[in-house]
């Protein structure tokens, strides 16, 4: 897992709960805590941190990851505004993932394992997103989608009829977007 994810997690946790909580999570999970954006660190460290948070809050790990993703997206917009400013809505933004955003991510962070998504426009405001990755972080993806909707002033309703955690081969997320105002 790339260091940027850990740094984002650190920021999100400290912003929401303070440095002490982050210290405690590190202590509890046994993670090193020495993250730089250019380095790569074991996936287990991230999962360990999430597990520690789950245990501390009593909420499921998926929910923690989703929360993290949603909070991380505004930070990503601050860091990489160019990917966002070209779009007014969430769906067109998400549709640039495979062709533009992830290829650029791989250039910036050599060795990044950014996933490829399968897309299907199932309605004017609806997008089906198929996720397939060893990391099985569909919950993070779901959070990122919510976060993106937040960025574009929309609200996302996501159903997941298929999930690798339920034994399916891939995860399918059916995302409906509506204007946040309505």
């Amino acid at each position: 897992m790339k260091g940027i994810i850990f740094i984002l997690l650190e920021k999100v946790v400290i912003e929401a709960h303070g440095e002490g909580v982050w210290d405690a999570l590190l202590e509890k999970s046994g993670a090193s805590g020495t993250y730089t954006s250019l380095g790569s660190y074991p996936d287990e460290e991230l999962l360990g941190l999430v597990a520690a948070a789950s245990e501390a809050t009593g909420r499921p790990q998926g929910e923690i990851l989703t929360w993290f993703g949603r909070k991380a997206m505004p930070l990503l917009r601050e860091r990489y505004p160019d990917f966002f400013t070209r779009h007014q809505q969430t769906i067109p933004f998400i549709l640039t993932l495979n062709e533009i955003i992830h290829p650029e991510v791989r250039k910036l962070y050599p060795g990044a394992e950014a996933p490829d998504f399968g897309f299907r426009r199932s309605g004017p405001n609806e997008l089906e997103l198929e996720y397939r990755s060893k990391k099985k972080m569909c919950a993070l993806a779901e959070g990122l989608i919510h976060g993106a909707a937040d960025v574009f002033g929309e609200k996302a309703v996501i159903e997941q009829p298929r999930c690798m955690h339920r034994g399916d081969e891939s995860c399918l997320m059916v995302c409906r977007f509506e204007s946040a105002a309505s």
Binding site: G18, E19, G20, V21, D23, A24, L26, S32, G33, T34, Y35, T36, L38, G39, A56
Partner: protein
């Protein structure tokens, strides 16, 4: 989770842990940054290596390309030099050959040589265009001049195939423009030649239209429409690509390198235009191109408008297109134009106009029309309309001009215009016909349909003293032969050194200078000559197999007055030499080189065979013509001589011009030559009245000729 800072010791421990963590982060970040920097450095090194390699490769490619250009230019030079010899020698030998079969063979060699030369030029042109090495002229040009040039070079072929050719320029097209005459003509010539090549019967129309105009330039559209075999739509696009002809068998049937249209496209693009074609199989094609030309600041020196103001013109032709075109050519001028579709209709028109008190001033008659032809129509008009209101007659012919002149002269028609009729030839002839005066510019209108040959230039070239310089003896012989045929006196020099010495001794009107010679080349020799006192203005014409423009510019910069490319086309040679030796006159007393006009006294007084040749072997016609000649000249000699003493040299020159024509028809060659000589002398700048000796000679020859003709007439009468 624990809340922060309850116990200061715990708090300090926490902070120390965070500090230690941050130190590790910093250390790792530094390591990563250092690795990245090293990585970056290596990549920059590699990029630099690649950059050096690329720039070396680029230089190598440029050197190779230059070498290729130089090779091409050299090869072209190498190919042109022997071609010069082949074409020139074939031409000379052809002129002297007696056996018609040998003449035919030589003519084929000459033609094939020219064809091969065309291919070499095409390939060179295309490579120069591809390399963007062609520089376009931006000089004053007249659209009519361009059309005339094209018409001159294609008319003979169109006529031999019986094709009608029509040229028209839309009235709104400005006549004085700036651009590259040669390249413009080249594209147009290519289109017209193709049209002729692929048209078996019908007509070829060349139009020039104004596409758009801004403050200082115009976009002109040139289109060539034929009634030929046409091109299938799917093939049209391919035509303008190099090395593609519709099918390869075309090359065998119709000749050509397949490069012509590709060259046209690139030239048009260089001139800020485009090319295109529309076609219908079996019906014909229209090929067009556009070109941007600058407006010329120069105003036309001569306006025929005043001369033609209010004139009434009747255009008679059985071909409706020809009528439309000729009427169209006249539309910019303040003349009233009516048309008639046959001789009979024309006669009715003329008679009616005469009776209505609005007679026609000019009759433009097509020669070959069904039933009443042009000449018969002119005769009928003369019979029916009194002389005072008889229109001037201009005969238009698509057929052999000499033949037409013969027939026309017999009918008293003086002006014969060859098809294709261009605006300038038509207007010149009209002005001459209605005003009885020649073109104010002083030059008689050039006949565009005649391909210029030696006979057109003997007047202009006779007696010119030419020094030909070339290190190749065969080239010297060819040029000597060509120039001597035209009446020049020729000396030769085989090196630049010798040329300079010869010139210093004086006695030349013009120098023809080869460029590439050992020891002293043509450029150095020219500079040396131009430094010689008294020779600064001696025209030097370079003759070179080098065709690159930048070299020609270099030659001109060194003082060379003009450049001819090998192989030298005889008409180009004659025209160029004539242009640079205008009105060179010599005083026979001080000039040992000039021949004392020996030819005059040698020609026969009356060559019956020669006359019959002109008159289609009709002996009766010869007698009638001779009678007419006697009648019209019996009382003409004294007034002509009187004009000379009254110093009205121009009118006298015209008399001699007419006499030259009418005596030539009768085979009175001695009189013809003498008249030509007198005309030439009278027309020269700073002309003086001929010497008394010359006039005595003229009176004598005239008298002898009349006597011989009378005898002939009497003999026939008994």
């Amino acid at each position: 989770m624990t809340s922060e800072g309850e116990d200061p010791r715990v708090r300090i421990q926490q902070l120390e842990q965070r500090l230690a963590r941050q130190r590790r982060v910093l250390e790792e970040a530094e390591n990563i940054a250092e690795r990245a920097t090293r990585d970056l450095y290596e990549r920059i090194q590699e990029l630099e290596r690649i950059r050096v390699q690329l720039s070396e490769a680029k230089e190598q490619a440029e050197r190779a390309s230059q070498a290729k250009s130089a090779f091409l230019a050299n090869m072209s030079h190498e190919i042109r030099t022997p071609l010069t010899a082949i074409i020139g020698l074939a031409y000379l030998t052809m002129r002297r050959a007696e056996d018609p079969r040998i003449r035919k063979n030589l003519s084929d060699i000459h033609e094939s040589g020219n064809h091969l030369l065309g291919l070499v030029s095409d390939i060179l042109d295309l490579s120069k265009l591809e390399a963007d090495k062609i520089m376009l002229d931006d000089v004053d040009l007249a659209i009519d001049g361009v059309l005339e040039r094209v018409s001159t070079m294609t008319a003979a072929r169109a006529q031999s195939q019986g094709l009608e050719m029509a040229f028209s320029v839309a009235p709104e097209v400005p006549r004085q423009l700036r651009g590259d005459t040669v390249r413009l003509s080249q594209v147009l010539l290519n289109y017209v030649s193709n049209a002729i090549k692929f048209t078996e019967r019908g007509e070829i129309t060349v139009r020039v239209d104004l596409e758009s105009q801004d403050a200082d330039s115009v976009l002109l559209r040139f289109s060539v429409t034929d009634t030929g075999i046409g091109v299938a739509p799917e093939h049209l696009g391919r035509l303008f690509r190099p090395f593609e002809q519709i099918d390869n068998s075309d090359t065998r049937v119709h000749g050509g390198s397949g490069l012509g249209l590709a060259i046209c496209r690139r030239l048009a693009e260089r001139m800020g235009g485009a090319v295109g074609a529309t076609s219908e199989v079996g019906r014909g094609s229209t090929f067009w191109f556009t070109a941007r030309l600058h407006l010329s600041l120069r105003t036309a020196e001569f306006s025929p408008r005043q001369e033609l103001e209010g004139r009434r013109v009747l255009v008679v032709d059985d071909n409706p297109t020809a009528r439309t075109v000729i009427s169209g050519l006249l539309s910019p001028f303040p003349v009233t134009v009516e048309t008639a579709a046959s001789g009979a209709e024309a006669v009715a028109h003329v008679v009616a106009a005469h009776q209505a008190g609005q007679p026609f001033h000019v009759l433009l008659l097509d020669w070959r029309m069904p039933e009443l032809d042009g000449i018969a129509t002119a005769r009928r008009v003369r019979e029916l309309v009194p002389h005072s209101s008889c229109p001037a007659v201009l005969l238009i012919t698509a057929h052999g001009r000499e033949e037409a002149i013969g027939a026309a002269a017999e009918a008293g028609i003086e002006v014969v215009i060859s098809k294709p009729v261009t605006e300038s030839s038509l207007v010149d002839s009209l002005v001459r016909a209605v005003s009885g005066r020649e073109h104010p510019a002083g030059q008689p209108a050039r006949d565009p349909a005649r391909s210029a040959g030696v006979d057109d230039f003997t007047d202009a070239l006779r007696g010119r003293r030419v020094l030909v310089v070339d290190d190749v003896p065969m080239n010297l012989e060819i040029l000597r032969g060509l120039l001597e045929v035209a009446g020049c006196s020729v000396e030769t020099a085989d090196s630049g050194m010798e040329a300079v010495e010869r010139v210093r001794r004086g006695g030349f009107d013009v120098v023809l200078m080869d460029i590439q010679m050992p020891v002293m080349d043509g450029v150095s020799a020219t500079q040396e000559i131009k430094r010689t006192p008294g020779c600064e203005r001696l025209p030097v014409i370079a003759i070179t197999a080098n065709v690159l423009e930048q070299d020609h510019q270099r030659y001109r910069a060194s003082g060379i007055d003009d450049v001819l490319c090998k192989p030298v086309e005889p008409s180009m040679l004659y025209a160029t030499v004539a242009r640079h030796t205008p009105g060179v006159r010599r005083d026979p007393g001080t000039d040992p080189v000039a021949p004392a006009e020996p030819a005059v006294t040698l020609a026969p007084l009356f060559d019956v065979e020669n006359a019959l040749g002109f008159l289609g072997g009709n002996r009766e016609l010869l007698v009638r013509t001779a009678r007419m000649f006697i009648a019209s000249n019996e009382h003409d000699v004294e007034p002509t001589l009187a004009l000379l003493t009254a110093a009205d040299l121009k009118t006298a020159a015209r008399r001699f011009h007419r006499l030259k024509g009418s005596s030539a028809m009768l085979g009175c060659r001695r009189l013809t030559e003498l008249s030509a000589l007198l005309e030439r002398e009278l027309k020269a700048p700073e002309a003086k009245a001929p010497s008394a000796e010359r006039l005595r000679e003229f009176s004598a020859v005239m008298g002898q000729t009349m006597a011989v003709l009378r005898k002939h007439v009497e003999a026939a009468g008994t």
